[in-house]
Symmetry: C2
Subunit: 363 residues, 2 copies
C-alpha cells in the first residue's frame, strides 16, 4: 500500500487529481499502475478509488518545477481509464491546466506576488506553453472567488486567466495548412487552421438551415468531412485511416439570439460568432479550449470563414456563442500580425488535499 | 472557507466520506450546509466537491466516541443530495457502517487488540446497535485485505464482519407484526417480519413462473402489495398514504442454478434461499443489508415462508442467492429462540485521508 499526497482540484468543468512528481518517485511502480489503482479504474464505478466514473472526473496531472528558461512548472496530463486499464496521454486538458496553475501558487511552487501572479506552464503531452494569471492581492493566495464558466457547474471559484502561448502551427508548421484562408469541400466553405490544435471550421450557411442548431442536425456528414479535412491539412496521407479526434471540426455562423442548454436566453449582441463543435462523434456541450484557440486564430486571420463572420479585422476580444453559453477570450497579436497568445477567463478551486492509500497489487 | 479533516472510505459497494463530529464543531454552520457544500451538491455533477454524483457515492457519516455503556462509537448516516439541497437522515446504511467500523480502528477511536478487534457502534438514525469485527493480528491495523463482496466492485479490501445486534421488533415491537408466520394477500403467501427493518417476503411460487426472475417480471404489483403490507403490519392506518420504502418487499423461492448479473454461474447447492428485492420502485441489484437481516430473521422462525424454503429449523449460516451473487450471513439465536445478532462478511478500505476546503456561502 503506497501512501501518496495529492490534491483534488476543480478546473473549469472538470475534476482533476494533481500529484507532484517527487511524490510519485522512490519506488519502481509505473505511473499508469499508480493512477489506475488510485482511481479504482478496474471497476466502471471507480467506487474503490478517487475517480468519479465520468470522463470529466477521471483526470490527473503530474506536476514538477521546471528547469527550462521561461517555464515555472511542467505538467503531464493523464486521462485515467474507467472500467479498463488504459491511461491516455495523447492530449492536453485546458481545465486541468487551469487547476495546475492555481495549484502551483497554492502549494508554493510559484511564489505569489503583490497584485497578479503569473504561472508559466509547459504541458508535456503537447509541448504547449501556457500561462495562468491569478489575482493575489498583497501576495495573498486565494481559495475562493466569484468566477463562473459556462457549462454544467454553477458554483463559483477562483478566477484564473489561462493563456495559450504561441499556439500557431504547432502540428503542421503553418497557420493555414492548405495555404488558403477558405477552401471548398463539397459545396461547403471551410477554413483549415492549425493553432492550439488542427481544426476545421465550416460555414453553417452551406447547409441551408436557418439556425446553427438546424445546420448541426443537417450535418450528419461532419465525421466524413473531418476525414477529408485530415487529408487536406496534410495530417494523414490520402487513403490512410484517419484519427477520430483531429482535426477538430465545427460549424460557425453569424450571431443570432438563442437559448443555452441550461435555459438562459442570449442576445445576438452578446457574442461575435456562433459555433458548434463535434467531440469525437457527438456534439460538444460547449467548446474545448484548444478548439477555441483555433477559432480565435482563424477569427483574427483576414479572409477566413470566422474572420468574415466577425466582420474582418483583428479583434482583441472575441466572444464565442456555444450551446452552453458565451465563452470570451482575448487575443494578443504582435506587430507582424502573428497571434502570440489566446487568453480565457477560467475558474479553479481546491476541493481537498489528500493522502491517497494506493493498493500496489495492480488494478 | 472551512477546512475540515475527513476520510474517504469504501464500504462494500459504496463510497462514504467520514467526518469526526469534533471536526464539525466550533462554528455555527448547519451540518446540512457543510455536507451539501463539501459534496458540491448544487450541481448534478458534483464536480465542485467530493461527491460522486450517484446515490452510492454521495454518502457521509459523522462519527464520535460514545459515552453510552457497551457502545464505542456513535455515527449519523447522511445521504447527501445530488443536484439539490436535501440531506436525508431517515435510514442507516450497512455499507457506511462497515466503513465506520474499520475507520474507528484505523483512526484510534478504538484501540486494536491482538487477534480480533470488535467495534460496537450505535447508528443514530435508527437506534440500531452494530458490531464490526476486524482481524488485527498482533494489534496491527490493516489497510488492505483479500475480501470481496458480491456486486459492482471487483477489488478486494479489508474483511469486516458486520453484526446487527438485537434486530428484532425495533419498529413494531414484534418479530411477526401480524401475529402469523404466514399471511395470505390476494392469492399469495406472505411473511411479514420486523427485524433490521420491517419487511415482507412473498412466496414467488404464487406467480406461477418457473424462475424467480420470471416471477419478478410477473410481479408488477409489488408496489401495491407493499402498500397493503404497510397496513397489515400496522405501519400506517388503513387509507393513509404509505411510504415508498417500508416495508421492504421481496420475492423468495427455493434455490435453483442461475447466472448472476456479472455473468457468474451459481449452482443450486451454493445457496439456501433465492431472493429478489424491490428498492423503491426498481429491482435492487443485490439486497440491502437491513433486508437481509429481515430475511435471516424470517428464515430462523418456524413456519414462515423463508423458513419453509430453507427446510425448517434454525440455521446458523444462511446463504442468500441474489441477482448479483450469494450473500452469506451468520445468525446467533439465544436459548429462548430469540435472534440476537445477524453477521455479514463485508469489505471496507481507506481510500484517502483528506482536508476539505468547504465554501461557506452555501451550495
Amino acid at each position: 500500500m503506497l501512501r501518496i499526497p495529492a490534491t483534488l482540484m476543480r478546473g473549469g468543468t472538470s475534476k482533476c487529481v494533481i500529484f507532484r512528481a517527487e511524490d510519485l518517485a522512490g519506488h519502481d511502480i509505473a505511473l499508469d499502475d499508480i493512477l489506475l489503482s488510485a482511481f479504482g479504474s478496474v471497476d466502471p464505478s471507480q467506487v474503490d478509488g478517487v475517480g468519479g466514473a465520468t470522463s470529466t472526473t477521471s483526470k490527473a496531472a503530474v506536476v514538477s518545477p521546471s528547469s527550462q528558461p521561461g517555464v515555472d512548472v511542467e505538467f503531464l496530463f493523464a486521462q485515467v481509464g474507467i472500467g479498463d486499464q488504459v491511461v491516455e496521454y495523447g492530449s492536453n486538458c485546458g481545465n486541468c491546466a487551469t487547476a495546475v496553475g492555481l495549484h502551483a501558487i497554492q502549494t508554493g511552487l510559484v511564489t505569489p506576488r503583490a497584485g497578479t501572479t503569473v504561472v508559466r506552464m509547459l504541458n508535456l503531452n503537447t509541448g504547449t506553453l501556457l500561462t495562468a494569471a491569478v489575482a493575489t492581492e498583497h501576495g495573498a493566495v486565494p481559495e475562493c472567488g466569484d468566477a463562473l464558466v459556462p457549462g454544467s457547474v454553477s458554483r463559483t471559484g477562483v478566477p484564473v486567466a489561462l493563456g495559450f502561448v504561441d499556439p500557431v502551427g504547432r502540428t503542421t508548421g503553418r497557420l493555414l495548412p492548405s495555404g488558403h484562408a477558405v477552401d471548398v469541400v463539397g459545396a461547403l466553405e471551410v477554413t483549415f487552421v492549425d493553432a492550439g490544435a488542427p481544426a476545421m471550421f465550416i460555414d453553417a450557411g452551406g447547409f441551408g438551415a436557418s439556425t446553427i442548431e438546424g445546420a448541426r442536425e443537417a450535418a450528419s456528414e461532419l465525421v466524413s468531412l473531418r476525414r477529408q479535412g485530415a487529408v487536406r491539412m496534410g495530417l494523414v496521407p490520402p487513403g490512410a485511416p484517419t484519427p477520430d479526434v483531429i482535426p477538430k471540426v465545427g460549424l460557425v455562423a453569424p450571431p443570432t439570439a438563442y437559448t443555452t442548454t441550461s435555459g438562459r436566453r442570449v442576445g445576438a449582441d452578446e457574442y461575435d460568432v456562433s459555433v458548434r463543435m463535434m467531440s469525437m462523434f457527438a456534439p460538444h456541450p460547449a467548446i474545448g479550449l484548444t478548439s477555441a484557440v483555433a477559432l480565435a486564430a482563424a477569427a483574427v486571420t483576414p479572409g477566413t470563414v470566422p474572420n468574415r463572420i466577425v466582420g474582418g479585422g483583428v479583434a482583441s476580444t472575441i466572444r464565442l456563442g456555444t450551446a452552453a453559453g458565451v465563452v470570451e477570450l482575448g487575443t494578443r497579436v504582435d506587430g507582424a500580425g502573428v497571434l502570440r497568445e489566446v487568453v480565457f477567463q477560467r475558474v479553479a478551486r481546491r476541493i481537498a488535499t489528500m493522502e491517497l492509500f494506493v493498493p500496489c497489487g495492480g488494478g
